[in-house]
Amino acid sequence: MSNQEYKEELVRAKEAWQEKVNKALEKQPERKEFKLDSDLELDIVYDPLHREDFDYLSQLNWPGKYPYTRGIQPTMYRGRLWTMRQYAGFGSAEETNQRFRYLLQEGQTGLSVAFDLPTQIGYDSDHPLARGEVGKVGVAIDSLADMEILMDQIPLDQVSTSMTINAPAAVLLAMYMAVAEKQGIPMEKIKGTIQNDILKEYVARGTYIFPPRESMRLVVDIFSFAGEKIPNWNTISISGYHIREAGSTAVQEVAFTLGNGIAYVEAALEAGLEIDRFAPRLSFFFNAHSNFLEEVAKFRAARRIWARLMKERFNAKDPRSMMLRFHTQTAGSTLTAQQPDINLVRVGFQALSAVLGGTQSLHTNSRDEALALPSEQSVLLALRTQQVIGHEIGVTDTADPLGGAYFIESLTDHIEEEALKYIARIDEIGGAVEAIENGFIQQEIQASAYRYQKEIEAQKRVVVGVNRFAISGEQPIDLLKMDPSTSQRQVDRLKEVRLSRKQEAVASALQDLRKAAQSGANMMPCILTAVKAYATMGEICNTLRDVFGEYQQHNIL
């Protein structure tokens, strides 16, 4: 039978099936409309007729082969599982160091540091705006002295460390390098990631300090410096996670993240860096949300779009520049305070979608995070969830096991198409920085967030335990209690550090930093010198505030 004849037969067979469908619908109408957030109406079933112009080599290819739709390594998880990396940090450096060592002992394979808000916004713990915030959503780091305690007895040549730090990323990276140096570890041995993705801070996460263009300069300074000194460090983690948490759809998550990625690449190229020198160290961070199959397709689509962008738009030659490597976190915004144990189930499915989507590392949320910072027991369960997926259920035995499924491939194509439309719109506006400055991206995210909430309230979107299957009289569960004296102890240590260091060294390092900021020279070496002299986070960031000014948010509603 020729291809044409076979296709005709398929069409006839489908028509016969359609009659059956019509009869079934008469007897049993469908429960609801089946639509994705991107407004795609889903068919009842997907079949070869959906995939007529499908070309295996150009659309999929094998894992480890361009455009990397099926994954970036040829054998995927058969060689090594993803890095199990739980985001942790609270209170003082001592407390967080203890939690890190506990997690490593329980089989976690990488660290991920959460910093408190004053640290993330470049204030010392005794700054008036730090009131009430010290050690709350993460660990407080004021100076190198705190970082030394945080990494105490953790072998920095064996563990990779991810730091969720953006506006002052350069400062924390410098502190980490200084600690590694004290441990006697050669710089080319340290491995890890700084988030360093300032653009999404303006639209989704809120811990910006300086205006966008000055911030982009800091980002590029890090690319350039780290490329030379710490070749195994991921210089940025371009993050869709927070964009999704702020309410975007899956398509918007991919589009705005990769749109920001394009902006970083262009900024680095403009500064004279060569594409294949820095692009292999770019990494990404996505959300694993509730719509399971859409999420699997999303990860695959993101990989394909990025590979093609890098090759076709930016003329990258090194395959590593084209490989989208990413971390995933399950969706915090889907956790419910009601019947919190249900969150274990949600997290399990979300984590599975990340693994089927080929993630390189994963954080699974804890069941109690809609109520408080997670308790040790809850974190352990979250880690065990990953271990079950990795070791018990067989999904890691073959690479991209859902690849080729009619629906998954159709969905992957759809997300790619829709995301590319958004990327074209951002290009028209003049790039991501412009699209942020004029509020386009914020408005798009906010419209989606509002629609999502309205759908929950209209029961078009079911949240088990909240708008359906709710119970009354819930039993409280044990939550993590914070030590209220942490803040005072942190401030005491900061004062001690300020008194015991060589003041001239600090003053001259800050003066050099100011000059570099003014002149356009790379600021990283000066920041490293300042950090080693025990200059504080606040002192370093204030020096830069003086030169760059601070970002003023436009409130668009």
């Binding site: 808000l117 004053p118 993330q120 916004i121 008036p128 705006l129 730090a130 009131r131 009430g132 915030e133 709350k136 959503v137 801070e201 996460r205 809120g206 811990t207 948490e245 702020a246 309410g247 915004s333 956790l335 419910t336 305070a337 009601q338 809609a370 109520l371 408080a372 910072l373 906010q446 967030a449 509002y450 909430q453 929950i456 309230e457 949240v463 909240v466 708008n467 409280p476 939550l479 914070m482 948010q553 409130n555 509603l557």
Partner: protein, 134 residues
């Protein structure tokens, strides 16, 4: 609602950057016919009170998810009392543990809306409360 629309200040207090909830609530209140002033991020207690008085609002809705609520919210209530503006209805949204919720309500917060609350509940609460205060 009859007469002048209700004026509401929606504010993000402290350094917390999670503004999805605040913006969704602000938009829902506006859709319900209220006049909404949204402060944006990183407001101090002093700034919140100052804006509330300047804008002559009847309701202040404060969103906070960073855990700093016990340090940042009581000063707002205190300053409102000092300014003899304690008739302003103060609502709180965010991740607030049960014992803190009790203590905040004792010190003058009218209601704490936790994750999972609907915007409809919030709108209804405000309407009812304004009616009761008349």
């Amino acid at each position: 609602m009859s007469g002048k629309p209700v004026r509401v200040l929606v504010g993000k207090i402290g350094l917390d950057g999670h503004d999805r909830g605040a913006k969704v609530v602000a938009q829902a209140l506006r859709d319900a016919g209220m006049e909404v002033i949204y402060t944006g991020l990183r407001q101090t207690p002093e700034q919140i009170v100052e804006t509330a008085l300047q804008e002559d609002v009847q309701v202040i809705g404060l969103s906070i998810l960073s855990g700093a609520h016990m340090q940042l919210l009581p000063p707002v209530l205190e300053m409102l009392r000092e300014q003899e503006s304690h008739d302003i209805i103060v609502l709180v949204g965010g991740i607030i543990p049960e014992e803190d919720r009790v203590s905040l309500k004792e010190s003058g917060v009218s209601e704490v809306f936790s994750p999972g609350s609907s915007t409809e509940q919030i709108v209804e609460f405000i309407k009812q409360k304004i009616k009761d205060n008349k």
